[in-house]
């Protein structure tokens, strides 16, 4: 009986965390290059229930299994969904969108990080930077142009007028391996210091494409998230009811059984 109460409570806790994930998805419905998250839940190891104190016809103890008993659920991890988002045309020459599987490489004080946010600008020194101020890497180095004639092409070539300065460093999630969100639009990977395999648009073979003058919208679909939110709420409610029913049953056991009526 008490075990059931904990099982219901574990369900409520999971739904609460899933609500946190959904809230973050909905909060970022307008964030450039945001990739929605899905929480993945798992169940606690099931317990094999056996008979005890049971004897067969001959009086020998029997311990046959009667099946398994679940002990509740917990959230294992969350995974970012890299599904495509719509592109927004901005016409801004330093806005770059990636369609397909690709990440820009940026230099942060903590080391190399990856991002899908292509709303670049130039800082006061003329260096091409992200909205957070991290230098965008091309050929492993930041790109600096002082006289305001920096252009980026759909093949990732960064030019100053006619002079080729380099190609944007772009890595695919396949080459990056296990990616984790850090926040502020940045992604990091396990073994962050290893150099990732960079793939130029020419070699990408359709894995990704660059679009200059576009921004990638968030891939959060508000309808899906609203449905998710309703599911979470109702499932939370169901667990809450189950818990209450068990509480009532326990109340009966504690107060009513064995009462001398009178």
């Amino acid at each position: 009986m008490l075990r059931g109460i904990y099982t219901s409570a574990s369900g409520m806790l999971v739904e609460q965390k899933r609500m946190d994930v959904t809230a973050n998805n909905l909060a970022n419905v307008n964030t450039t290059g945001f990739k929605k998250e899905t929480a993945i839940s798992g169940s606690f190891q099931e317990l094999l229930v056996r008979r005890v104190n049971d004897k067969d016809a001959a009086g020998n103890p029997q311990t046959a299994s009667v099946g398994t008993l679940g002990l509740g659920t917990f959230l294992v991890q969350n995974a970012a969904r890299l599904s495509a988002a719509s592109l927004k045309e901005t016409g801004n020459p330093l806005d770059v969108a990636i369609t397909g599987d690709g990440f820009f490489t940026v230099q942060t004080p903590q080391g190399i990080r990856y991002t899908r946010q292509g709303n670049f600008t130039q800082d006061a020194n003329g260096t091409l930077v992200t909205a957070e101020g991290h230098a965008v890497l091309a050929g492993g180095r930041p790109i600096t142009v002082r006289d305001g004639s920096l252009t980026i092409s759909n093949t990732g070539e960064v030019r100053n007028g006619d002079r080729l300065l380099g190609r944007l460093d772009i890595a695919t999630s396949q080459a990056l391996g296990s990616l984790r969100k850090e926040g502020h639009g940045l992604w990091t990977r396990a073994g962050a210091d290893d150099a990732p395999l960079l793939i130029t648009p020419a070699e990408a073979n359709g894995q990704y494409q660059l679009r200059v003058g576009f921004l990638e919208a968030s891939n959060v679909e508000s309808v899906t998230e609203m449905v998710e939110m309703i599911t979470i709420m109702r499932s939370y409610e169901a667990n809450q009811r189950t818990l209450q029913v068990q509480d009532e049953t326990l109340q009966k056991a504690a107060n009513d059984i064995g009462r001398v009526s009178g």
């Binding site: 739904e15 609460q16 965390k17 609500m19 946190d20 994930v21 959904t22 809230a23 973050n24 909905l26 909060a27 970022n28 419905v29 307008n30 964030t31 450039t32 945001f34 998250e37 929480a39 959230l75 294992v76 991890q77 969350n78 901005t90 016409g91 801004n92 709303n119 600008t121 130039q122 800082d123 006061a124 020194n125 003329g126 909205a131 957070e132 002082r146 006289d147 305001g148 004639s149 296990s178 990616l179 984790r180 969100k181 850090e182 926040g183 502020h184 639009g185 396990a190 508000s222 998230e225 609203m226 939110m229 309703i230 979470i232 709420m233 939370y236 409610e237 809450q240 818990l243 509480d247």
Partner: protein
């Protein structure tokens, strides 16, 4: 639970600021030389709620919401609108007019709706003086046929019919014009984010040429702003729903123990 509440609240705040940006853009749809602001959102940091399993999964990492990262001034050129006023100037390029303000500091503007003040100086509507190679540009009261050339030379005909030069307007070029600080009246102050101004004569480098009898219109596009407004408003609503649902869930937890 509290996290979901704060996540949704952060988004409501950011979207409210985005709506304010759109409102400012829309109210400046007819402001000469105005550059629209673009609200740029950014995720907040992610919290590791559950540690990563050894070398396997990244664990449970939950985001904490969103903030308005910056309002990026988009430097697209506005349309050039013809006018009859000889002191209406537009810049075809990336430069800014240099304006000496009454307090002596220099401000920068794309708004070239100038006039001549009582002392014959080329000035903005708010009384700032347009700076040339050698200080303010003075046009005598009896001057006629004032002509401002693409390279910034201000020429006029004197009463005797001679063509004289009043000065050459100079432009300032910034590495990152989006980093200038707006100070109102269509003026901008230099800032560390924009780099030091590079003073150039019109036509050199990317500063651009001066076009007389034209004004640069605002680069705000109403359709785009309306779409942004709708997106921000809906996002605001969605997050209000999240707060509502979270609140309901908290109330269910509160009501677990009855009687």
């Amino acid at each position: 639970m509290i996290r979901a509440l704060q996540t949704a609240a952060s988004s409501m705040l950011a979207n409210q600021q985005a709506i304010e940006t759109t409102a400012n853009n829309l109210s400046n749809v007819n402001t000469t030389g105005f550059k629209k602001g673009r609200a740029e959102f950014q995720e907040l940091l992610y919290a590791q709620v559950q540690p990563a399993a050894e070398g396997k999964t990244p664990g449970l990492v939950i985001g904490q919401g969103v903030r308005l990262n910056q309002i990026h001034r988009i430097q697209d050129a506005g349309m050039l609108q013809p006018s009859e006023n000889p002191y209406d100037l537009a810049i075809q390029g990336l430069g800014f007019f240099r304006i000496q303000q009454p307090d002596g500091t220099v401000a920068y503007t794309r708004d070239g709706a100038f006039s001549v003040d009582a002392q014959g100086r080329l000035a903005t509507a708010s009384g700032g003086l347009v700076l040339g190679q050698s200080g303010p540009i003075v046009i005598p009261a009896d001057a006629t046929n004032v002509s401002i050339k693409p390279d910034g030379f201000v020429e006029y005909q004197s009463a005797e019919g001679k063509t004289l030069v009043a000065g050459q307007i100079t432009l300032a070029l910034f590495t990152n014009p989006a980093g200038l600080t707006p100070v109102g009246h269509n003026l901008h102050a230099a800032s560390t984010g924009a780099s030091r101004p590079q003073v150039l004569t019109p036509g050199s480098q990317a500063a651009g040429k001066i076009v007389q009898k034209h004004l640069e219109a605002s680069n705000v596009q109403t359709m785009e702003e309306m779409v942004n407004l709708m997106a921000a408003q809906r996002a605001y609503e969605l997050n209000a729903k999240v707060i509502h649902s979270t609140d309901e869930m908290m109330s269910m937890a509160n009501n677990l123990r009855r009687g």
